[in-house]
Amino acid sequence: MKNLDKFREAFKEEARELLAGLETSLLSLEEDPRNEEEISTTFRAMHTIKGSASMFGFDQISTFTHELENILDRVREGELTLDSGLISVFLQSKDHILDLLDDTTLDSKLLAKSTELLEEAAAAIRLAGGELSEEIHQETPKEALQKGEEVALVLPNSAQPSSKDEKDDPNLLSTYRIRFNPGRDIFENGTRPLNLIQELSDLGEATIIPYFSELPNLDKLKAEECYLRWDVLLTTTKEQAEIHEVFLFVQDTAEVKIDRIDSPTESAANEDPRIGTILVQRGAVSKEEVETAISKQRRLGEVLVEDGVSKEEIRSALLEQSHVKRTREKLLSDVSSNTIRVSSERLDALVDLVGELVTLQARLSQTVEGVESENSQLVAISEQLERFVSELRDAAMSMRMLPLGTTFSRFKRLVRDLSQDLEKEVDFLTAGGETELDKTVIDKLSEPLVHLIRNSLDHGIEVPATRKKLGKPNQGTITLKAEHAGASVEISITDDGKGLDAEKIRAKAIERGLILKNAEVSREDLYELIMAPGFSTADTITQVSGRGVGMDVVKRQIEDLSGSISIESEPGKFTKFILNIPLTLAIIEGLLVDTGGERFIFPLTLIEECIELQNDSTERKASEILTHRNELLPIIDLRQLLSIPGQVPSSQQVVIANTIHGKVGIIVDFVIGGHQTVVKSLGKLYREAEGVSGATILGDGSIALIVDAGKLAKIASQVLTAEAG
């Protein structure tokens, strides 16, 4: 049973993924209802969920999805169109299936919800002018669901898969018993029975069971006659009609009977069929005869042979039992062997351990440096270990990387539902869904992204009438885009709405005492004020936003990810929120530097170069401009910024970083070199420390702070602007 529990958990995981994909497909279909590929994907997802649910005992889901699958099959056949009414029901059904997945108590409310949704679906079909099947008039969805039966609610015919792209879907497997009894004269018309059996075998996994009992001794045998017949057990994704096609040309010279005897997908977790049941199904014996035989407390086969059942029939039934069992087991094994699902907690534990290993390895390297000349073998081992640890780190980190697109689909649904509520027309575009980020980062990104998108929809995009007056298309656009930017990912949310009103923000900021009445504040800085706690320019508070609670939280959430957020906007045209998020929070490649005996780490991917700086006698300001490669580069002195005491050396180095806020040179005493950095959080006390995003433990056990180069670039720019002003 424990194994089954594991499979059930695996099914739940798989179902959640399928449901996420289903939602994406449904939203695409809303835009393009005739997209056959999406229709097929939707059907397949529903079919797989249904099959697997049945396999692992989720009967409510199985029954519910069966009805939905029937509707989708009609869509596939072109009998119905997925209009927005039906799409809405399907989207709600997707949410409902998620609830059913977590329902361990067979909640009657959920059962009622299933019924309600199916009735809504039926109503939507009626509204769209579609016809319901005969069955719907005979039995209500509620009755069907309560019985837990798989009944066709709206589909007149059974929902057997038929389109070509489903052929290899293991969830569509069926096992057939094909009784092939060639006529004695089958050789005469040139038919070769073994070729037909070969054709059958090519359709799937076959067990061929010959019957030799009619084969006479040589004296009575006629060379041109066929004496053998067969049972072929075939597990295949093909339909019965395709199996019939194999025998198309022997219809007059052979008896062929094809019975579907098992669906490995739906029955894998069930008890294997009993030999008595198989023989009854075959019509070899009656149920009563089996019961009588069993009551004799002897081997069933022996008793039945005594009662006149042929040994071949019993042998064939035994092989059928074995074939069914094997194909079910194979399917279960395939489910578990294609991928290994590992809980994210376990992955986190692995990454933590790798982090400790990286720290320990750094200590080893440092220790070995001291004995370098004395023990070259130790040095070689240390270097080799460093390489392996580096590879192990990358492998461990890559396991937690997920494409951002997995969350994009959720936002698509959000935009759909919200735009309907707000009576706005919005086209939601996404790009860069394949961009990967650490799972922990993605998890923490979801909430701020939801908030930003809601903001764009509520405050950015205008209602259609307003847009029309402004000469804009009725339908607004929100674009969610992700792309790599060095060791970071840049995510932007852009709407083509009314833009930010800088003057309104200024007035509100003055009113709230955030800026002085006559202060000269750049437009960009005014925009930043919308992320001040409690700041809102919204005239009305809606269900969606406008309470001024949110943007400050968004900023905090992004900064907690060691990321940054900036805003670009043009009145009447657009607003763009730009998030810069590190790929991972756990381990980064760093550049270790020393200033006044304190150690600091710069994220290596931001570093462009390091240059020498000869100090003259003039006193240096905290922030200056340096001309480098014909470019004016703001520089900032780390020693001054962080008030580090001590003698300034005559020669220092400038670490030039390219950040989202532009290039900045950071003056340090000297660069030590590259360093694999296990990122540790600073804790609440140091959270407000400007220009520092985290800390790490060095090989000697001391602590180095991780420099937030982007923040330093911003500080340098602000200082220079203030000085210029």
Binding site: I197, I208, P210, L215, N217, L218, D219, L221, E224, L228
Partner: protein
């Protein structure tokens, strides 16, 4: 060579076209000697009609209490045709393996 043993060579093409002749030859061979050894190594093509003859021969030999042996090597075409017939036999075990399989079917009472 033992006078009571006859080695019977199967033709290259053991197919329906040659089955009638093969059947007569096999019947004669079985009657002529007490012990029959079948040499299948020349077989390149074999179909169901010849497979039937081969299996019937074994059935008949048991009925007539004749000794029947298969000689190695057995061509892969024979094993392939037997496999397609549904005859479970391991080609790696050669002639002895095939004889054991036939015996097994006979003991089971299905051949």
């Amino acid at each position: 060579m033992d006078q009571n043993i006859l080695v019977f060579n199967f033709p290259t093409n053991a197919t329906l076209e040659h089955s009638a002749v093969l059947l007569n030859d096999l019947k004669s061979a079985l009657k002529s000697k007490k012990s029959l050894q079948l040499n299948l190594k020349e077989i390149e093509t074999i179909d169901l009609s010849a497979i039937q003859l081969l299996l019937s021969l074994f059935k008949t030999a048991v009925a007539q209490k004749r000794e029947l042996r298969l000689l190695d090597p057995i061509p892969s075409a024979v094993f392939e045709a037997l496999r397609m017939t549904g005859f479970v036999v391991n080609p790696d075990h050669g002639a002895q393996g095939l004889m054991d399989a036939i015996k097994h079917y006979q003991l089971e009472g299905v051949l």
